[in-house]
Symmetry: C2
Subunit: 156 residues, 2 copies
């Protein structure tokens, strides 16, 4: 497959929700968690509306030259008192469409997130990757991330 | 030391910033990161003001029966599309004053956070603990958290 020469990173719109959920579901962990149905369950649109209201959060997509959405990422800029009142950036829900992997799209998304974090005076970008996502961990290390923390979760 | 029979969890106020920063600094990792000076650097108050504007974030303190602040915690409720549009809760900057540890104050703070996350329909509470904080990891496991993720960080 030819390398995608360029993707555009832009804020997600309501009409992108279906393709984003399809990417979230097309994943060993996500497939059990999502409901990729036609029509798409209203819970996803309610969540999108909540994201639109959340001023610290940006849900973005990567769009190829044909305007097709091929990746997504959610970035949250979180103020806090620690580290001399520095904001930190939390990256979540990074996905690239399965037919478009290994073309640098994930890296473009992450570089966008890192630049946005810098632009918002963050001193830290942080993310959780599931213990089983060994390839993702390698990818993030290549971008300069250190596996410095244990990510602990409590699921209801 | 007698067990503290009860602490009150309440939203942090501007006048609590100094004691919260003192708790952040009184820590092997925090001591190198904070500037506990008199007067307290303005960066901390700017961060507090940003927290007050951030509608998804609650910075809370634990106050003992004498009205002394003995612990703190920051909770962020994050909407998102994944897991059928479920919000998740991120817990950060959990601290208990060094002279008040092992009295259940951290547990009270965490139980407050878990209850708030449930009340906000979150399906997940997540937190980062530094790899070196082995005791903290034991504490969170006791509360039901699983070390399911690698927490990766990029510091500028």
């Amino acid at each position: 497959m030819a390398a995608i020469s360029s993707v555009t990173i832009r804020r997600a719109r309501r009409e992108d929700v279906g393709i984003i959920v399809a990417m979230l579901a097309d994943d060993p962990l996500g497939s059990a968690r999502e409901r990729l149905e036609e029509p798409l369950p209203a819970c996803y649109f309610r969540a999108f509306d909540a994201l639109e209201q959340a001023s610290q959060i940006k849900l973005v997509v990567a769009e190829d030259a044909d305007g097709i959405v091929v990746g997504c990422l959610q970035l949250c800029i979180l103020p806090g008192l620690s580290s001399q009142g520095a904001s930190r950036a939390l990256v979540e829900d990074v996905r690239v469409a399965s037919q478009c992997r290994s073309q640098g799209i994930g890296e473009r998304l992450m570089q966008w997130a890192i630049a946005d974090a810098r632009g918002n005076a963050c001193k830290l970008v942080e993310l959780f990757t599931h213990n089983t996502r060994v390839e993702a961990q390698r990818f993030y290390k290549r971008l300069g991330f250190a596996p410095s923390h244990v990510g602990m979760t409590l699921r209801f």
